[in-house]
Symmetry: C3
Amino acid sequence: MADTKTLKELAEYLGGVVRGDESCRISGLAPLEMAGPDKITFLANPKYAAKVAETGAGAVLMAAGGESHGRNVIEVANPYLAFAKLLNLFHVARPAPLGVMPGASIGENVLLGADISVYPGARIGDNAVIGDGCIIHPGAVIYAGVTIGSNTLVHANAVIRERCRIGSRCVIQPGAVIGSDGFGYAPDGRGYYPIPQIGIVVLEDDVEIGANTCIDRAALETTLIRRGTKLDNLVQIAHNCQIGEDCMIVSQVGISGSSKIGNHVTLAGQVGVAGHLTIGDNVMVGAQSGIPGSLPANAGYSGTPAMPHKDWLKAMAVVPRLPELRKTVTALEKRIAELESQLLQK
Amino acid sequence: MADTKTLKELAEYLGGVVRGDESCRISGLAPLEMAGPDKITFLANPKYAAKVAETGAGAVLMAAGGESHGRNVIEVANPYLAFAKLLNLFHVARPAPLGVMPGASIGENVLLGADISVYPGARIGDNAVIGDGCIIHPGAVIYAGVTIGSNTLVHANAVIRERCRIGSRCVIQPGAVIGSDGFGYAPDGRGYYPIPQIGIVVLEDDVEIGANTCIDRAALETTLIRRGTKLDNLVQIAHNCQIGEDCMIVSQVGISGSSKIGNHVTLAGQVGVAGHLTIGDNVMVGAQSGIPGSLPANAGYSGTPAMPHKDWLKAMAVVPRLPELRKTVTALEKRIAELESQLLQK
Amino acid sequence: MADTKTLKELAEYLGGVVRGDESCRISGLAPLEMAGPDKITFLANPKYAAKVAETGAGAVLMAAGGESHGRNVIEVANPYLAFAKLLNLFHVARPAPLGVMPGASIGENVLLGADISVYPGARIGDNAVIGDGCIIHPGAVIYAGVTIGSNTLVHANAVIRERCRIGSRCVIQPGAVIGSDGFGYAPDGRGYYPIPQIGIVVLEDDVEIGANTCIDRAALETTLIRRGTKLDNLVQIAHNCQIGEDCMIVSQVGISGSSKIGNHVTLAGQVGVAGHLTIGDNVMVGAQSGIPGSLPANAGYSGTPAMPHKDWLKAMAVVPRLPELRKTVTALEKRIAELESQLLQK
């Protein structure tokens, strides 16, 4: 029972309040429908409130004042967030540091922090600095001169190119590439002359980068992803972009060069953003939209080219009826011509 | 001549019937226009039937009753399938197993099957189970606790994260990532708190995964790809998705979290599918379409938002004529106003 | 001062002409606004001509006849190209060759050129040929039988599969996959039988491939990327495609199987191209467009399905007004019916 916690302990951990048996012991988490008496579950969406009456869970995380149906309850401000925190508490054991394992390759003048793990097949280039508590998985390649803060996780086969700077508590999923050359060429009359991309990428703290996502280094200065921003898988960030704090960039989004994205922006899946534009704070862009120009803050947009989201919904409702609309107009033309000729005869 | 086969032998292998010289010896395959007398070719598309008269091939695979133009023929039910099977027979030699080569890294308590090859630079984590006949290419990283069936091929630099389960006869192309963390965060009032993704990915037998494709692990349970389904390159499958049997998911498709795709579904290139929806069996979706809600079975859809494919074709035919349509309507307005004023005067 | 150059030396290097102090010494490059007296800057866009008066730069690259505002000037035909060339001169030091470093894995019968670097964790398969001056970064995997020309750069964790042929002076960004199996399956009545993909990929000289981009090998023959063409990140090129010379294929573009792209073609981000079609020379396609059929040369196209770019702009201007257009048409119908009934009564 070393791994169980009482509801009292959990409530203290979460800053919540127990209604019911404070001494009830919990060993983990489960969905409403599947939870047994040693599990805690959560009610975040009021739509599912009736399911609380039927759950076999030992306790339910819910908002203050929710109907308990006689269950033990921990009241919390944000049940979904509380659930995530308990998942961490019960299910995520920080692994013991393993040091530099045999088969890892460490360059010259590398500075390694305390309590790190560097797996076989990982490579850390010359003059790199790896902070305390970092985990570098097999096949991850960190080029020369890279700096990484503390407790950052670099998954297998991710690549961080020369001189890029990564913050603390970042997570880089497998296969992500940070610091690839920006796509910059000068036409020379025949073909394209590659413009050296001598800038870097900076990820601030708590940034997370999805699998096989690519972030290009700046031509001269910095491609910047600010604190707390999360990028999903297969995202493309071109050179010289600046992405604000706490943004959500969903899978397969592409952002062209030198664009600036504000704070708390959400770009849904497969959105494309043109270059050299600005997107204001708190903007939400619907999936597959194409953004050709700057977007003012605090609004939602959709479509290619993007327009206010509500306008897009209304316009898209007409699209399947366009053939009918066209027929109607043709018929009206005939009727008007008929009217005109009748009137002429009168 | 050890590598040649007679038409009789090939017909037996394919379950077909020879018309012509059964003893004709064949050493390989070639297209209709390029085949010499020791090669067999195929006629799958009736459009090219006339080319049979001019081919230099020693024999032609064709459907029963096809015009042979005096050539040797093997009649088969499905000439394209027969061609693919002969390609395998003549051109694909299963390489001899090489065992665990020097420079491969094997964790603790790993269970390795018979007749495997594990190349230099490959990493197999603790407690993994690798079935008979598997080939693990250089730089492939298999995290702890992964299970792989027999005769599965994992190409270079592919990554399979912890505890995922891969079936038999699967093919994982280079750089594919299976089991990356799902994109799940709980807003905490300021930014986003990462929700631990403690589920797994399961690939059933005969699943093939394209280069740099990403399949996220479930939050709690399983992201599932069923038997026989093929994913092309750069596809994104989000957490908790379920994809049915024998689906074709073409390059750069993205499927959002918790969506369920039926059996025999085809999603063409760059399609985007929203989350928490259901697509019925045998659905076909046209390239670049965006699917905002569930789609009934046995039909074709296109567009963003998607509509029945035929409706989309008709609607798209009107789009380039919209400016003209608008002008027509403006002109009609004027003519009607004119009619109204004339009528008023009468 | 060993790393500085006089304006005279730079003008000779660039084939330009100095106006001002030929002996002025330059140590590097900087943007107009940030350059100090030992830096050279450039004026490419006439929009910024006034900034020349305020720059602190030691000299300005500009077109012949530009207003110098009393600054030292090097006149060149193409200031942007000249800037790129000086970036190379000042900031890109070709690293000294390091040979085959410990921890690299070299197969049997490999032919290695002079002055190469092969980093720890790189793998070169049997019978491969690596030209003079190549750099193979950590974790890059080159399968058996691959041929690479001279001075080609293969970044970390890129994969080049068996027998593919890579030209000279190519750059392969991290995680790119060249020669993955084409997505080819023959329906066998139940599911899909994989068609062996026994062809290769050929990249000619001066081709550059973006991070995590995928180029599939041909089914039987060759997927071909011609001289000088640049592919951005996360691009998909399917089997049997042929891409011409000096094309720009921007991020997240997907080109389906067997399509032929001419010379000097630009496909903007997220464009999708169907299979078995031809795109003529000098075509430009706007971002996110979908190309269902062949496109004639020397023109611009946009939209899904694509149309001439100007037509698309006009059509898209109508889309947000479709609901209004529909209301107008409904109102016109009523007015016409009213007119008809009035006329009937007269």
